[in-house]
Amino acid sequence: MSGEFIAFFVLALLTIGGAVFMISFTRVVHMVVALAFTFLGIAGLYVLLEAEFVGVTQVLVYSGAISILMLFGIMLTRHDATEVTERKGPFKYIAFAGIAVFFIVAFLGIQSAHWGDQQADFTKQNNVKEIGIQLFTHYVIPFEAVSVLLLVALVGAIILAKKEAEDE
């Protein structure tokens, strides 16, 4: 019990700490690096929940691809960018109050709900094999739809980012 608890505590601290640093840093590049740590912590949480395949996918897609993509986005736009001021006026405080209310309501909901004590035992089966079997039998149509979606996103992103370069 204690080992799992310590692992959970460290990973949760890494995850939330990265997110809080993302909010409080002023330089944009630092924010992206802090969020990369958050993504790694989330991958660790997945491994703790016995979802190894999802954890490795998280490391590949988020910590690898999306962090680097966002760094490229910053470098291509304004690489000395600092978050000098946030939005003006009372909007920030209104947003904070609204989110605080949402947090309290959701927290009370989580505390009062009861989900029972049952627990899936994924240790006996091969995680990747089970996901593959499910994905290619029960979820084969969403799987193909997602492949088309990725192709459309690839072509669309290239066209969107390329079109203005031809005009210059």
Partner: protein, 103 residues
């Protein structure tokens, strides 16, 4: 006795709230996109946690989270492409200066 599912839900809730705050208040559009990714990640934690500890523990939750990761990656790529196109035209990445349809 292992870690209760409430702990995972609480971590996901905190991450979601931080992501929502960042998406609403930050001015740099890249950071707004990253905050949206953080919110999607919080949802993924819920899905994977319920796949192990939920009412009907099943591997479907992990598969759902894989689909969510795929859609989020596509969203990030298209969002960044729009952002670069906008930067070429308007020379800004601050969201409060993107008021072309308001003027």
């Amino acid at each position: 006795m292992s870690i209760p599912v409430t702990s995972y839900l609480l971590v996901a809730l905190i991450l979601f709230c931080i992501g929502l705050y960042g998406a609403l208040t930050k001015r740099n559009a890249v950071i707004v996109l990253l905050s949206i990714e953080l919110m999607l990640n919080a949802v993924n934690i819920n899905l994977v946690a319920f796949a192990k500890y939920g009412m009907f523990p099943n591997i479907s939750g992990q598969i759902f989270s894989l689909f969510t990761i795929t859609v989020a990656a596509a969203e990030a790529a298209v969002g960044l492409a729009i952002l670069i196109s906008l930067y070429r035209n308007r020379n800004t990445v601050q969201v409060d200066e993107m008021d072309l349809m308001k003027r």
